[in-house]
């Protein structure tokens, strides 16, 4: 192939790769916005576990600002709870699975966001 054509092909390849990778990054909404849309209805606008829905729920949603509890859960626990729901971690069915709503990368961002709400890491407050 002529070197100039090679360059074109290379640029075209890059563009295709870029477009293929783009959607996930573009479609991923910031975790704060996802929290407000999907989690705040039960966990509260402040993340304190006191959402608008809780009055008649037999198991109350977790307080995500509770550093003592949240630091006892690993990032993997939080990821699984968020993606597969309460039943997947032997907790209440009232905590729904979000795997058909949020992408894995959005859920990873959500775990990081939960860590900012509790000001905590796994194993330390």
């Amino acid at each position: 192939m002529h070197p100039v054509h090679k360059t074109y092909a290379f640029i075209l390849g890059l563009a295709v790769l870029f477009l293929a990778l783009l959607p996930d990054a573009l479609l991923a909404a910031p975790a704060k916005d996802n929290y407000r849309t999907y989690c705040a209805q039960c966990h509260g606008l402040q993340g304190n576990g006191r959402g608008v829905n809780i009055r008649d729920m037999s198991v109350q949603p977790r307080n995500h600002t509770d550093g003592a509890y949240m630091s006892s859960r690993s990032d993997q626990d939080l990821f699984t709870a968020d993606k597969k729901g309460g039943l997947a971690i032997d907790k209440s069915v009232l905590m729904p699975p979000w795997g058909e709503t949020l992408s894995d990368s959005e859920i990873h961002n959500m775990v990081r966001y939960l860590r900012t709400l509790c000001h905590c890491q796994y194993g330390k407050q």
Partner: protein, 243 residues
């Protein structure tokens, strides 16, 4: 014989077909006063053409339920009566987070931010309902559903809805029991078509990709039970069962 004549006729026919294909809605709307009513008085809040919001910011901005699949979702008789006497269906409005205020025990619905719905005369309600019934988006999803006639006891229905699946977290099953971020379901038996109820529970994201109802992977037997339970709640008065 000159062969250009038939070729030209074929080309003209193709052009005609093409223009119909490009402007199907316009040409239909011109001869339906109901569709004109929807376009003039409802389309500012209700999408008649779709698609559903593709981002959560579009979701937050939505002003009323999407209508591009209204003919597959609602029961005509319910629309006619509701439009004359609208009663709130979503206790916390279209996007709940915009209608909350902090309370001592939990976030509370701020009623002062909710507006009553426009009411129509009987004649206009009928026009609107008939036009809405022609909007048939997502035929494919409806065709996949088959709801068998049947019933479920109140206690079993509550067990499935409240305990096994946790639906009550977001939906009310009577005017003072259940969650507030989803539409009430105690009139859903007269409001919605059974196949729509089944399809929405099976895959909410197929109807509304960004909606805050989760896909709980409910199996088919449970879906049938849930449809029968929701129909049994029916505080909305008479309802037609599936055709």
């Amino acid at each position: 014989m000159d062969i250009r004549m038939p070729i030209r006729a074929v080309l003209l026919a193709l052009a005609g077909l093409l223009s119909i294909a490009i402007h199907p809605a316009d040409s239909r709307a011109a001869d339906s006063p109901g569709m004109d009513l929807l376009k003039n008085r409802c389309a500012s809040c209700h999408s008649l053409t779709g698609p559903a919001p593709a981002s959560i910011h579009a979701l937050w901005a939505r002003k009323g339920p999407d209508f591009f699949y209204a003919g597959n979702k609602y029961q005509r008789s319910w629309i006619v009566s509701w439009l004359q006497h609208p009663v709130r269906i979503r206790p916390a409005g279209m996007f709940y987070a915009d209608h909350l205020k902090p309370g001592p025990k939990r976030d509370m619905v701020d009623e002062s931010t909710l507006r009553p719905h426009v009411a129509l005369s009987k004649a206009d309600a009928i026009l609107a309902a008939d036009a809405l019934m022609t909007l048939k988006g997502h035929n494919d999803l409806i065709k996949m559903e088959h709801v068998a006639p049947g019933s479920i006891s109140k206690s079993m229905g509550e067990m499935v809805f409240d305990k096994f699946l946790g639906c009550l977290a977001c939906h009310r099953t009577d005017p003072d029991y259940g969650g507030l971020s989803g539409p009430e379901l105690y009139t859903a038996g007269s409001r919605l078509r059974p196949e729509f109820i089944a399809s929405y529970i099976r895959n909410p994201q197929a109807w509304d990709p960004k909606i805050w109802m989760p896909d709980k992977h409910v199996n088919d037997a449970r879906i049938q039970q849930l449809v029968h339970y929701i129909e049994s709640l029916n505080l909305g008065g008479s309802h037609a069962s599936s055709p």
